[in-house]
Symmetry: C2
Subunit: 529 residues, 2 copies
């Protein structure tokens, strides 16, 4: 659930066009998604932010080498939440950095899982901005890395310029530390930021944020007095086009397991010799047949009623969709190439693919494992088989209702012996394009010559519901910069673009964060935020 990948996933399809999905053909197509609104949102209608902070920009320029070193220091500290590698060290590193920056109150926040990190900067201001951060990263792929994923290596990319290539470079350590560099410059030059800040970080975002609500709960009273939430993020594609999104999908992440048991037979203690398949049941076949009842032969969701809770896109969502897909048909080939795919799902048009990604749910196999998976031949009848499955949720789906429908389908097909373990689940989240916070961010993009497409949501998930739903706060994510490869080998963030590139380097990205912080501070003073 990398934010960067969320953005990539979204923009690739956001950059696609059109209004209507064709009539669904049999079970093999998603439901008709009605887009009746014809107007399209256009960010150029927003005035450019007028603020100018030359003295702070100058400080950033003088300290650009030290600021890059800060990003390297962060990515050199492993923090793989799925494998609990370096988590405690990274949490303390972040807490200490906040303290060093001048956050008076800082704390590690114990949870049932990895700790959260809290920091409060009292600027004596009337308003308070919450900054969401994640300090964990994805596991390392066993093959494909050109560099040590935790060495903080600078690589010269012939097409992009100098990039920082490391796990976490863009998801999410790079942009987060760049934001702190900008904040540091403001404090050093101007004495304090224009708004009080609460940094509330988690170390389990890549796990689906199972315990972030505990972190929020501990500071709920203080958070309720805050005025909005911000998440630093690289939003430029490799051509320099920045973008915004206002919401995220929810998620349900499960393990489905078949094992030998009294009802469905099969070995219960351990694997047995493969020849025993002549007279013993196989948990592996059981899992395969159970999974097969969840999709059609061509991989479309076949769980009865699974889409019933999905509401049609509202007028704002339709306008935003129109705004991001219109006139982008030509980019399909590039988008497919970047994904290494030859077509969209079951040959859909790319407009349909774009609409599906924004407005439809998913059922995805993240992993499958049973028995012998090594090289060559081993003949066994495994006693257990497990599938990791996730589903992305759109309004008004909920994790529990989605889980219940999957359970019901398995039971109805006679697979009530298949165990479902819920590893993570939370609902979607969204903020309005008319929120002062959103418009303040758009103004800063306009100042930097950007007219960002604004997506109502993205295909990926994040636990923003704790802010938008639990606390009722508006939340936006943004920043100027480009990175890629989240959840993949050779993750990178551009730090020094080639001459003439529209991609912002680290220093320009930090200037953007300076402006954004002042712009958001202004917005927080407005009513209806």
């Amino acid at each position: 659930m990398s934010s960067r990948s969320r953005r990539t996933a979204s923009l690739l399809s956001a950059a696609l066009a059109l209004i209507l999905l064709p009539i669904a053909s049999a079970a093999a197509a998603p439901p008709r998604i009605e887009i009746t609104e014809t107007a399209a949102f256009d960010a150029s209608s927003v005035a450019a932010f007028a603020g100018d902070y030359a003295d702070v920009y100058a400080y950033l320029h003088q300290h650009r080498d030290a600021d890059l070193a800060q990003l390297q220091r962060w990515v050199r500290q492993p923090s793989i939440s799925a494998q609990n590698q370096g988590i405690a060290q990274m949490a303390e590193l972040l807490r200490k950095d906040l303290q060093t920056l001048g956050f008076r109150d800082t704390a590690l926040v114990p949870t049932s899982g990895h700790p959260g990190v809290y920091g409060y900067y009292d600027a004596g201001a009337a308003h308070t901005l919450v900054v969401y951060m994640m300090y964990d990263v994805q596991p390392i792929e066993p093959t494909g890395w050109k560099v040590d994923a935790f060495a903080g290596t600078l690589v010269d990319d012939p097409a992009l310029g100098k990039v920082l290539m490391a796990r976490g470079a863009t998801n999410q350590k790079g942009p987060q530390r760049a934001f702190l560099n900008a904040l540091d410059a403001i404090i050093k030059v101007r004495g304090k930021p224009p708004v009080n800040l609460i940094v509330l970080a988690e170390g389990e975002e890549e796990l689906g944020s199972p315990h972030y609500p505990e972190v929020v709960a501990k500071y709920e009273a203080q958070l309720r007095k805050a005025d909005g939430v911000f998440f630093p993020m690289n939003t430029q594609d490799r051509d320099g086009q920045a973008s915004m999104f206002l919401g995220v999908k929810g998620i349900l992440y499960m393990e489905l397991e078949a094992k030998g048991n009294a009802k469905s037979g099969g070995p219960q203690r351990a694997e047995v010799h493969g020849s025993l398949a002549a007279k013993l049941d196989s948990p592996s076949w059981r899992l395969v047949q159970a999974l097969a009842t969840l999709t059609t032969p061509d991989g479309e969701i076949a769980v009865p009623g699974y889409r019933d809770a999905i509401r049609a896109p509202n007028v704002e969502e339709q306008r935003l969709f129109n705004g991001i897909v219109r006139g982008r048909e030509s980019e399909q080939a590039k988008q497919l190439e970047s994904l290494g795919a030859a077509r969209w799902k079951n040959g859909r048009g790319f407009r349909d693919a774009a609409a599906a990604e924004l407005f439809d749910t998913t059922l995805n196999i993240d992993g499958l494992v049973a028995g012998y998976t090594g090289e060559g031949v081993k003949t066994i009848l495994p006693h257990r088989a497990v599938a990791k499955v996730d589903s992305r949720l759109v309004p008004d789906q909920t994790p529990d209702q989605a889980l219940a429908l999957i359970r019901k389908q398995l039971d109805a097909k006679g697979f009530d012996d298949i165990e479902i373990r819920k590893l993570s689940g939370y609902p979607p989240a969204q903020t309005s394009v008319d929120a002062p916070l959103t418009r303040a961010a758009l103004g800063v993009y306009r100042k930097y010559g950007q007219t960002p497409p604004v997506a109502p949501r993205i295909g990926g998930s994040a636990p923003y519901y704790v802010f938008t739903q639990t606390l009722g706060l508006p939340m936006i994510a943004g920043g100027l910069g480009h990175g890629s490869g989240a959840h993949a080998p050779n993750e990178y963030m551009v730090v020094e673009p080639l001459k003439g590139s529209k991609v912002a380097g680290l220093e320009e990205g930090e200037r953007f964060y300076v402006d954004l912080l002042y712009s958001l501070a202004d917005a927080l003073k407005q009513p209806g935020k």
Copy 2:
């Protein structure tokens, strides 16, 4: 394809009874297997072997500690063929041992895979016995081992006595080295064995013996002049009951792979973010749906025509079946318990299970793997998914015909993009109960107070076709001793049984091999061998 497990697999069901499978219910049952013969083979009709070799037995008794140390030395040398661990060392260890025993010609036999081992002992006799051996072992299970699998540890089992607990203890190093200990005693006491010996070993039995034919081919001319083939094996169950089997199933071992491609879509280069399931096809769902077309929802083979080539059991096979299943119904509970299973496949009666194991084919998932299989949550859409699948073959199935039927079914269901890689394949093999070699072995069992049930074949596979089919030689496997846990943690062989146990210890097992060698030598002189 552990010989020991083959025996276990076989005897557990061989100890079951009855004649007719019930009428198949829908697709969910195997075909009707007609057993019309009512007579039953009874080994008590064979006269006990009269030979007595007290001087050799005495030598074995004097050297029992040294002989046990030989077994430990063998199991302490890892030789995992699937992972190429210790293979070269074990091959040379075996060759050197043969040389030390007095085999004049010995050689490592290079193949396209792991080397074979050849040894010729010229006893100046008129007849020659081929001894088949396998020097490789199964991989080690990551969990469940009570001892270092390669330490050659002696463990006191309260129910069995002193056992050698190690990978290969019973499959197949223990019985093979015990046989060589017996041969060593004969040579030391009597100067030479009663028959010329050709040891022809392979290091890929656990891989399905893909290159053993190359080893046989190299010595084919000499092998054609031989008179029969023997394979040393522990054949006693934990109660001391010995058994024989006269044949093995063949096997087809495949990898089925789904990956992103132009026809079925999906990411082709690498895994992508899981949220992209909204618009990209999934090779994992593709594999699941393809596999689901090969069986019914309850795991029975659903490949059209897959059983058409299976011939009905002949009269000898029916007599043998009657002989091994009659009056054994009472052992079902014990058999199921030993397998850790609550029932036979889809609730079959245990007589049907026994018949299925001897006379039916299988389709088994040995392994499944796709995407992220570690702890916790990782949300990816994997670009490839693989299943390891094996099928046990009975007369007159062939690997190529079975593979063609599976290919045809996948193609017919629209899964022609699923790649099938054949990793191993060979036909079944069988020797007659009336062969002099068989009767000679039965005579020795009789001398040791055993009346072994004789199975026409077992559920497992071995490459005996190279002897029975390619060379036209009779082949038997046998020995006195008990071990278990082949292809599982804590594999063991009993070396010193508890007082009163009917299980033979190492020394008695070696005496058995002495008698057997003389008995087989006599048989080879008879016509019609």
